[in-house]
Symmetry: C3
Amino acid sequence: MKGFRSPRIVAADTGGALLDEDYQPLGLIATAAVLVERPYLTATACEVRYQKPEGYDMSGRKAIVEEIKLAAELARKFRPDAVHIDSTIGGIEIRKLDEPTIDALRISDRGKEVLKDVSDEVRRVALRLWEDTGIDMIATGKPSVPVRIAEICSGVYTVIWALREASSRGYVRVGLPKFMKVEIGENSIVGRSIDTREGGLYGEIGFEGVPENVRWELYPNPTLKGFMVFEAWTGE
Amino acid sequence: MKGFRSPRIVAADTGGALLDEDYQPLGLIATAAVLVERPYLTATACEVRYQKPEGYDMSGRKAIVEEIKLAAELARKFRPDAVHIDSTIGGIEIRKLDEPTIDALRISDRGKEVLKDVSDEVRRVALRLWEDTGIDMIATGKPSVPVRIAEICSGVYTVIWALREASSRGYVRVGLPKFMKVEIGENSIVGRSIDTREGGLYGEIGFEGVPENVRWELYPNPTLKGFMVFEAWTGE
Amino acid sequence: MKGFRSPRIVAADTGGALLDEDYQPLGLIATAAVLVERPYLTATACEVRYQKPEGYDMSGRKAIVEEIKLAAELARKFRPDAVHIDSTIGGIEIRKLDEPTIDALRISDRGKEVLKDVSDEVRRVALRLWEDTGIDMIATGKPSVPVRIAEICSGVYTVIWALREASSRGYVRVGLPKFMKVEIGENSIVGRSIDTREGGLYGEIGFEGVPENVRWELYPNPTLKGFMVFEAWTGE
């Protein structure tokens, strides 16, 4: 085929939350990194790092560090054209994220504080990736389709986590990332965007099947429109 | 089933507007209160108070008072875990809505004025409900799924109202709440969210059927994208 | 049928962009004007003025002038009740768009500068239309359904342009307006809103068919969620 190249992109995002009985998040569950290639509808490859939701640092410090580390790992393996990180700081190369750059961002003071606390660590990871491979990590945020696919995959991993936890805990309630549902098959779980404006983005992750004694239900979070709740439990 | 309880929630909202020939709203038509239970997709029970759209107070004063009264009625009947009221004031218990609390809200001065005018009345209703039953009324606003289901039901009641009014007036044009359509069956009308991101919310209300000589049409409001117009008339 | 009249509306919008290899817009492609009548789902008539995307003035100056001229042409032909122009200046009659009015608008200083540069020309076109026909041009912007249908049609014309250009250039990549897809038939191309909240808006334009040696693909813009990319090329 003639024409421009279509970039291969690695992206990462953290999503899925353990919920309490009032549907409030206790902590995040899954950091997912994905390789996304044209036609940019789903992931060609995925990796997950499960988090410990109890006692999870909800400030965002932990999430961004985990995302950048996992994305760098996947980038070394698949050598994409770019790496997209979910962040609201808008199009900046992570390897350039020093204090003056952070101060100049149009984000909240609290956001700047969080970034400064992690900037040494994330800058080092991004710089090393760039020096070794020439691949840049960019803080693209919401407009990035690969970041959204990573978010959807983090939701699928969250459901896999919940189905397993149900066996040991007896019961678990988790919240999925916004505007997505899951379809549980025999050998895989598909997460699908329910925001039609995104043009059909999805993620599919293989898994071992629902344990025989586990039941589950998917339904809208009554306190947070646009977000689905997934519950799994053993027995009836 | 093991696990957390899933709250039963009563919610209320006012919607549907009588429109003039320029598609401008003349007044609101239906206050709906609903009982919503897991899986939070539709209402288990509904009540309506029809408003007189001609000369309707569009400031919001009348709507919030009617919503709180009707929701309190339904709450006394069904004893839910909480009552959600559509309001942008964000998560506050209505029984605590006094002047200092209103002054501290981050809303417009005009909004504060409206709230102060009605605060005595709505606080009294909420306080009495709380003292009698222990049930709290919370101003949750847009994130509440039950409030959205109440909004959809107010749209269905608006269509029922329009079909009846068409018989007496000969012609009527109304506007539905945002992002919803209606399907008119033999014995009921179903209102469905057309915002797929909401995960399939709907409301169904029984009714006596379309009068034999009444015709109707549903189409997008050309001046307000996302809102549907319903027209009904007698004859051809 | 009894009841209010339903206005016939002419609207215009410019959309579709030639993209570079980084999916960045080089210039706009198609100004479309449409006649929209009840039930306001599609266009009854369409016209296009193709732009030269290379070296295109991306400030918005050229787009608004072209839209107003083409809309005025269509309005003289079809005598609608009103003309809607896509602009964020909100409900103002174009024929009244003088400097004091522009200064009073709540838009950016850069936006005011752009408007002042073109105000003489667009005011003259709108005033002449109004004097000759009594039809007003209104800057309605996003809430207008006819403007959205014009935007969708500009996307369809962009695809027709791309299929032709592919034959001469060998390869072309364009970006469609937000939240729409295209379905390419034998004798026409249909553009459909993929934002379900809009209630099913679409536009259909006749065309001569895909040239025999041209291939094409439609896929999400990886760098701009909600926007689709259309590529066409000759050969395999």
